[in-house]
């Protein structure tokens, strides 16, 4: 067997965590370097895996199987395909940059990095698991460190936000768990043996009622994490309260767990269920996109703006999923990646500002570009990515989503409302996004120089690591999207083939 690269990606943070346990609390720099090194190993391995992924062969690669609980068909089996590979890369990038974004951390450093690495282990685990049990297990592993990270190192109503976030996510995952168990039982009855292997589970024919029911459970369960309206409120509050690196990881990666779960454990396993619920997802996504963007427009706290912008942007992911075709799903996955990088960039920069200025009140800023030109430039680029400017990764993603949903030919409400109208409504979000993002840029960075902020220093040294890495990633995949889309498409094609092969059924509307 080859080198188990995926397991190594996941365990590198664990190794770092154990090392940090041994380092005394006062050796702060050593702790940070250890964390950076551990995540760097993950990053390098993730890039390596990304490059080595064999497009010609396609499918799941870098497989590794260890029998775990044979009686229940639980195996530790990992592997990535075109859908999960980019997300593994995303996680690696975001955590690596996140460590650097936390470089200025001075309070309870040891615990912080322990929890942070714990969190990221869970996230990696979700993306590489091929076994539904482990998938869920890792999914939940990520939640509790999050609570502590926000609760201890957060700001602005941190305890409330941390609790809210934890409960939302757990309640959501409760539904997913029920779905997974029901699925497992159904499948093992059909198959005659127990298994949690997603690929095998996908070969089972589930009857329509069951599909509808379980997909709905998955929709709630993973939808909370996406977050789907009206289950989204944990996210702005959580974003705002979380410390920088956690916000990055949280908005950058954790939300993607939801969408990924929805695709992997939802659409892939229950194509008919997905077809049934897709119109509802599409309608909710419009609310996400438009309503989220509108709310972002009137926020007074920088992080709240980004928090609601995440709600809005993840709406596009939902739109891509709801379109249930190759373009849409390609776009959805791409958007997951792009939004992850983009929002991580935002949070890194806002964290930088907050750390120096001790406020995030937009109204108190103005003209910061004078004092912090690099931060301003980075923020502007983030903003441009956010509003879908060509040349950046988000544009490709959103474009594909729009194309996908636009080319979906389906009539809702008895033929009165074409799906296309929904997609047009959702696309209109790009206008609102541009408005609020550029307004924030304007209010924060432009305008006359304010002397009270003259003490702010521009980002430099290690602070620039996240900015540079994240922007470079956005540009790379924005200018050369084939690098990304070919990979994703490789994973999406069989999935959509399954959806198309499924029985044609009407949607909920």
């Amino acid at each position: 067997m080859n080198f188990p690269i995926l397991t190594a990606i996941m365990l590198a943070p664990v190794a770092g965590l154990l090392l940090i346990l041994l380092i005394p609390e006062r050796e702060q720099l050593t702790i940070k370097i250890t964390a950076a090194a551990a995540t760097f190993v993950s990053l390098v391995l993730a890039v390596l895996a990304y490059v080595q992924y064999d497009h010609a062969r396609g499918g799941l690669q870098f497989l590794q199987d260890i029998s775990w609980v044979p009686g229940f068909g639980i195996n530790y089996s990992v592997g990535v395909d075109g859908i999960s590979m980019p997300l593994v890369l995303l996680t690696a990038i975001v955590i690596f940059t996140g460590v650097f974004a936390s470089w200025d951390m001075t309070q309870r450093v040891k615990e912080f990095f322990i929890f942070l690495l714990m969190l990221v282990t869970g996230v990696f685990g979700v993306f590489i698991s091929r076994d539904l049990f482990f998938f869920y297990l890792f999914f939940e592993v990520a939640v509790i460190p999050m609570y502590l990270l926000i609760g201890i190192w957060g700001s602005t109503r941190k305890e409330y936000a941390a609790m809210k976030l934890t409960l939302y996510l757990l309640v959501g995952s409760a539904f997913a768990l029920i779905g997974i168990i029901a699925l497992f039982l159904y499948a093992s009855q059909q198959l005659g043996y127990a298994t949690f292997d997603i690929q095998t589970l996908a070969t089972v024919k589930y009857d329509l009622g069951f599909q509808k029911f379980v997909f709905f459970l998955m929709l709630i369960g993973f939808g909370v994490l996406v977050p789907i309206w009206p289950l989204h409120l944990w996210s702005p509050d959580g974003h705002v309260a979380a410390p920088t690196a956690v916000s990055m990881l949280h908005a950058g990666v954790l939300m993607k767990l939801g969408a990924y779960g929805l695709i992997r454990a939802g659409v892939f396993l229950f194509p008919e269920g997905a077809k049934f619920w897709a119109p509802l997802i599409a309608v909710l996504c419009i609310v996400n996109v438009v309503y989220g963007a509108m709310i972002a427009m009137v926020q007074r706290d920088l992080k709240f703006v980004i928090g609601y912008s995440s709600v809005s942007h993840m709406g596009y992911v939902l739109l891509g999923i709801a379109s249930l075709n190759i373009l849409g799903l390609d776009g959805a996955v791409s958007q997951m990646f792009a939004h992850g990088i983009m929002t991580a960039l935002f949070f890194a920069l806002v964290g930088n500002i907050y750390h120096k200025a001790h406020t995030r009140e937009i109204a108190s800023f103005g003209g910061l570009a004078h004092q912090m030109p690099r931060v301003a430039a980075g923020f502007l680029i983030g903003g441009l990515a956010s509003l879908g400017l060509p040349g950046l990764n988000n544009f490709v993603a959103e474009f594909l989503i729009f194309m996908g949903s636009f080319t979906r030919d389906q009539a809702l409400f008895g033929g009165i409302l074409p799906f296309r109208i929904l997609s047009i409504l959702a696309i209109s979000g790009i206008v609102i996004t541009a408005t609020y993002i550029l307004r924030v840029v304007m209010k924060t960075f432009f305008g006359p120089r304010k002397p009270e902020w003259d003490h702010l220093e521009d980002a430099r040294g290690v602070e620039m690591v996240p900015v540079v890495v994240l922007i470079a990633t956005l540009l790379l995949f924005g200018l050369l999207p084939s690098l990304q889309i070919d990979m994703i498409n490789n994973g999406i094609t069989p999935l959509v083939a399954k959806v198309e092969a499924a029985k044609a059924i009407g949607g909920i509307f």
Partner: protein
């Protein structure tokens, strides 16, 4: 050369990162890099045009090559490609030439500005994007660069970001364009949904045989929204006057000569789509015509030199759009070209004045001709060209539009066009008489600009004079046999129209001289007499106010409402669930009284209740 045409945007594209990351601290080098890059592009553009002329590349037989930028097998092929036909070749030349001249001019104009290098970087990025847009062989790519030029416009309008008004203007420009781009995007999505491709030529081949014109008309109308925004047509014109907050060379390059013309260029590129839909064509024509008139009326009351020019630009763009609408792509493009030269010249001239005076209000200027001979004389040439005085460039191109409207039977539009010609001549010369002639104002220390600025003015002045001849009706194998839609055609001179438009132009100049040529209180009296109209015009028909009201009251109001809803209703529901849970815990806790006999009582009550619940089997019968 044509085969390497893809390099044209690459030079400035490379210049951008070089300037931003490498040479930013060494200003002369930054300028040099920028100018060299666009110079190389210009040379190549000339070469391309030459080959197009020599090698028989025509509208019907363009050169196209592409590589796949993003492909999804069987579903989507997005190309990064180059389409060179006479249309593109002309546009390339215009863009590179104006950009080159503007960059040279900027060396002088921006001298001493702290953002000198950045400015050249942005200009390079803009040039690259604009050239990419020109070369695009498909809708996707044109959209891609369309957005990028929008970005550059945003960056350059907000170049003086310390000015609140500049920052706001940039935002306004971007957002207004976004609205338009949204429509544009939907438009070509519809096209893709119908035909499955973005490629212009493939679409051109497919469109004529498509039957469902209703659907196609929807797509075309949506595509047209793009030009409405980019080319500042009513009702999305509001951003352009504000865009004058940017440095003047930017106004010349982006907001007069090139970017704003991109909308017209798109109409030309997509002409096959529009040409098949008479209804949409009419819409285009009337939007253009209306904008032309509308903007011209505003221009006659403005005081800011750049704003006057901005409204003039809107008006002229309206002309071009109208030309497209009446089916004369040739005339539209011709006017685009000549307009690029003389309007760039006007802006650069205005820039020269502003550079000298640091003043933009024409009524605070006066008598500049004594100190700024080159500037003023080139400015006057450009103004004559714009006013349509023969034999300057503007005359020929405008005349072709009017003749086209007349010939095709659009009498209404013809009248509008003529009226606009009159107004144009009037407001331009109002500007000239007020600003350049008359008495010198006290406290003004005008001086001629440096050579880097005046040389481009002179070059453009020459072009403003001569460029019209390529399309004059007397010239055989002129512009109309080069850039056209359908079949090449030769335009017969329509002497009646020519005569009328010449008269009208001269009348406008004359009226301006009457009112503003010497000290007079007539304008003030007129303004007093027609006070309501005057106020309407000065306030630009209150359109900005309406939009602001819509945005602040309706948009932000709705957003606040949503915010409140989210924070109180949605959050309230979920927090409420939490509170109810907590509260029920607090209440249920009180059941635990601490009295053990109560506990025992509960136990036995429970037993009794269970027995009663199961009374059927236990007390009344036997279960199976």
């Amino acid at each position: 050369m044509i085969n390497h045409a893809w390099l044209i945007p690459v030079f400035p594209a490379l210049a951008f990162p070089i300037i931003i990351f490498l040479t930013r601290r060494v200003r002369p080098l930054s300028a040099l890099v920028g100018i060299a890059a666009i110079g190389a592009s210009f040379v190549m553009a000339v070469g391309v045009l030459r080959e197009v002329l020599l090698n028989g590349v025509t509208m019907a037989h363009p050169v196209e090559y592409a590589s796949t930028w993003l492909g999804i097998p069987g579903l989507l092929k997005i190309e990064a490609g180059v389409l060179i036909d006479p249309l593109a070749a002309v546009m390339l030349l215009v863009v590179t030439l104006v950009a080159l001249l503007v960059e040279i001019y900027s060396v002088g104009y921006m001298h001493g500005d702290p953002g000198f290098s950045t400015f050249f970087g942005y200009l390079s990025l803009f040039s690259a994007s604009m050239l990419g847009l020109v070369l695009a062989n498909n809708y996707f790519m044109i959209f891609f660069f369309w957005e990028l030029v929008g970005l550059c416009s945003y960056l350059l309008i907000g170049f003086y970001y310390h000015k609140q008004s500049a920052a706001r203007a940039g935002l306004k420009a971007f957002v207004t364009n976004r609205v338009a781009d949204f429509g544009f995007m939907l438009g070509f999505f519809f096209l893709f949904a119908i035909f499955g491709t973005f490629n212009f030529r493939e679409l051109a081949a497919a469109i004529p045989s498509y039957q469902n014109t209703g659907f196609l008309a929807l797509a075309a109308a949506l595509v047209f929204i793009g030009p409405i925004g980019k080319s500042a047509q009513f009702p999305l014109h509001v951003w352009l006057p504000d865009a004058m907050e940017g440095p003047t060379p930017v106004s010349a390059l982006i907001h007069a000569a090139t970017m704003v013309a991109a909308g017209v260029y798109l109409l030309a590129r997509a002409f096959v789509l529009f040409a098949s839909l008479p209804g949409i064509m009419l819409l285009v024509a009337y939007v253009g015509g209306f904008t032309a008139l509308f903007a011209a009326t505003i221009a006659i009351t403005q005081r800011d030199i750049k704003r006057i020019l901005a409204y003039s630009t809107i008006s002229q763009l309206g002309y071009m759009v109208m030309a497209m609408g009446i089916g004369s792509m040739t005339a539209g493009m011709f006017h685009l070209m000549t307009h690029a030269f003389f309007k760039a010249l006007l802006f650069l001239g205005a820039g020269s004045v502003i550079h000298a005076l640091e003043e933009q209000d024409i009524f605070r200027m006066g008598g500049l001709y004594k100190d700024m001979k080159v500037t003023v004389s080139t400015f006057v040439i450009a103004a004559l060209a714009l006013a349509g005085v023969p034999p300057l460039a503007g005359f020929w191109s405008k005349d072709e539009i009017l003749a086209g409207a007349f010939d095709h039977g659009f009498t209404g539009l013809y009248i509008i066009g003529t009226l606009v010609a009159f107004l144009t001549a009037f407001y331009m010369f109002r500007l000239i008489f007020v600003a350049f002639f008359g008495d010198r104002r006290a406290g003004l220390h005008a001086h001629e600009s440096p050579l880097t600025m005046t040389v481009p003015l002179v070059i453009l002045a020459v072009l403003s004079v001569v460029s019209g001849f390529v399309g004059a009706p007397f010239v055989s194998h002129g512009f109309s046999s080069f850039v056209y839609y359908g079949e090449p055609h030769h335009i017969e001179p329509n002497y009646g129209v020519m005569l009328l438009s010449t008269i009208v132009a001269l009348a406008g100049i004359g009226l301006a001289w009457l009112l503003y040529g010497r000290p007079s209180d007539v304008p003030a009296r007129l303004a007093e007499r027609y006070r309501s109209i005057y106020k309407l015009l000065v306030n630009k028909y209150y359109i900005d106010e309406v939009y602001l009201w819509l945005f602040h009251r309706v948009g932000l109001g709705l957003a606040e409402a949503f915010n409140w809803h989210d924070r109180h209703v949605v959050d309230g529901v979920f927090d409420g669930v939490g509170d109810v849970t907590r509260l029920s815990g607090h209440k249920l806790r009180l059941l635990q009284t601490g009295n053990l006999q109560t506990y025992a009582l509960v136990i036995f009550t429970a037993v009794v209740i269970i027995a009663l619940w199961m009374a059927a089997p236990v007390l009344g019968g036997v279960i199976q």
